[in-house]
């Protein structure tokens, strides 16, 4: 594939599909012909209904699973297994319960830099424990922490190995709304500061609008595809407390909601008609216009810009 831009994307998903064949049952293709590019420093959210293979796709990006066809290219080389360059924040935090918070982080840091002294490992880990505001909880076991604190440790562990790409699988879905909100605030601060390339799966539209530069919308599975890519039209310094006042907030939100509620199924017909180019799904920029409730400044360009 010829890259037309000067900057090569950090992640390039090239025509991947995943088929599950169990026993004598008819094999099921959860998603098919997925093309997606994530540039360095970009925060991309993936929204889609359950069963369109979001977690499978994230596992493929992480190298925990392999696609049935197609390939994933990260920094110019194909993903064939897991890598310390791609950190994962798991939905269920996945902390090791027999280790303390400090040891959980140190375990990751030691994996990344095996030759570091204990002192170096501890200082480096402490930086990330402080970052997620868990100072003073280093010696606690995960079972002594609340759900939100556990997920913070999961986030600190992922950041502590300073990965090229951060992969997050609905990291806040198991948390209550208040905790989720404060963690989103923290994540937005950290990601913007670190210019972290991030790919995140979510169900939450507001979460996607707050965090993402680009929002990838998938049709319902099986045979899910990338239906369109929505560019976030809100200012880059948006915060959870003020973003809903921006004039573009409502068009953004309505577009995403409309897609999830009404179009994720019907859009499959569009794909069946052959009018949809899987390689270059339409890039949508929902913006507000005078006198109109919502207006879609739809550009029929590709997402390669």
């Amino acid at each position: 594939m010829i890259t037309t831009t000067q900057e090569r994307p950090t992640i390039s998903i090239e025509g991947i599909s995943k088929t599950f064949a169990e026993g004598n049952a008819e094999p099921v293709t959860v998603f098919d012909d997925i093309w997606l590019r994530i540039n360095k420093g970009e925060f991309v959210c993936l929204i889609g209904h359950s069963g369109c293979g979001k977690t499978t796709m994230l596992n493929i990006l992480a190298g925990l699973d392999l696609p049935s066809s197609g390939s994933v290219i990260v920094d110019g080389s194909e993903v064939t297994g897991t890598s310390l360059d791609r950190a994962v924040v798991f939905q269920s935090h996945a902390l090791l319960p027999w280790m303390t918070v400090g040891t959980n982080i140190a375990f990751a840091v030691e994996s990344r830099w095996p030759h570091w002294s204990q002192q170096q490992v501890r200082e480096h880990g402490q930086k990330y424990i402080d970052m997620v505001q868990l100072k003073g909880h280093e010696n606690k076991r995960p079972s002594e922490l609340s759900g939100g604190m556990k997920q913070r440790v999961g986030i600190a562990r992922a950041f502590s190995i300073e990965p090229e790409v951060l992969l997050m699988d609905e990291p806040f879905s198991a948390l209550d709304a208040l905790t989720r909100g404060s963690l989103q605030d923290e994540l937005v601060t950290i990601c913007r500061k670190q210019q972290q390339t991030t790919f995140m799966i979510t169900h939450d539209i507001d979460e996607a609008i707050l965090l993402a530069d680009k929002i990838v919308l998938m049709t319902a599975g099986p045979n899910a595809r990338v239906c369109e890519i929505v560019e976030n039209t809100l200012p880059a310094d948006r915060t959870r407390s003020d973003m809903h006042r921006h004039k573009n907030y409502s068009p953004m939100r309505n577009h995403l909601l409309e897609f999830l509620v009404n179009r994720s199924d019907s859009s499959k017909e569009l794909i069946a008609d052959g009018k949809h180019d899987s390689r270059h799904p339409p890039l949508i920029r929902p913006v507000w216009a005078e006198g109109q409730k919502t207006i879609y400044d739809q550009q029929e360009t590709d997402n390669e810009k």
Binding site: S83, A94, P97, W98, R141
Partner: protein, 278 residues
Amino acid sequence: MTNTIRLKAFLLTLLLVTLFSIVWQFYVSGTAEDHGMDAEYAALMGSASKGGSNLPGPLDVASTVLSHLASPLHYPGTDQPGLLVQIGYSIGRVLIGFGLAALVAIPIGFAIGMSPLWNRALNPIIQILKPISPLAWLPLALYTIKDAEMSSIFVIFICSVWPMMINTSFGVMSVRREWMNVARTLEVKPLRLAFRVILPAAAPTIMTGMRISIGIAWLVIVAAEMLVGGTGIGYFVWNEWNNLEITNIITAILLVGVVGMLLDTALAMAARVVAYSD
């Protein structure tokens, strides 16, 4: 609240033991007249001749227990090895056999748990060897090893090995996928994965297997020593049976129970150290 329950439970235990001892004493003490029995025969029969039982009563046992406590290293009144020495032999054999079994069972269990191939290959062998009574191995052991001491240790080894092996493989197999995924994304090397992730994750299950094993080993050692002879608490019981020293047999039975409980408690405490809650 828990303290009062604990106190009540303790008092209730005491009450039950006392009641049992009273019934026991009542059962063995004869009150009836001897039915014109020959005096010499009546003396031989003891209290049985008076309509009671020839089983010693709790007071007889208590005095025997005290005599053994007073002279733990030597059989009271002789220079033969005492109860403490005999039980020491038994504990030693169990610990050696159990320790060797752990050294063999845990690594093999690990391999079985990690590899579906090894699991499939070894499973039929384990399933056949597991239900064999450990004592059935004894003649074979005596014949091939030609050493009584080693043979009884072998019997302990063979009965301890299966529960530990099966539990280790089960514990390793059921390490959560998410923990393995974490290790994979961190590119953890195999040896580090085994010792820092799989072993701690499987440790509680392995400890359960060890507790089952030591329980079985302690059951088996008494029987093995009865057959092998020489030393040990099992030999002691059999020897006292030949001497018809029933109070000594009851004393030994009580001691076997107490030591068995202590062994289990020790492993339960070790299990608490490696336990984790999610």
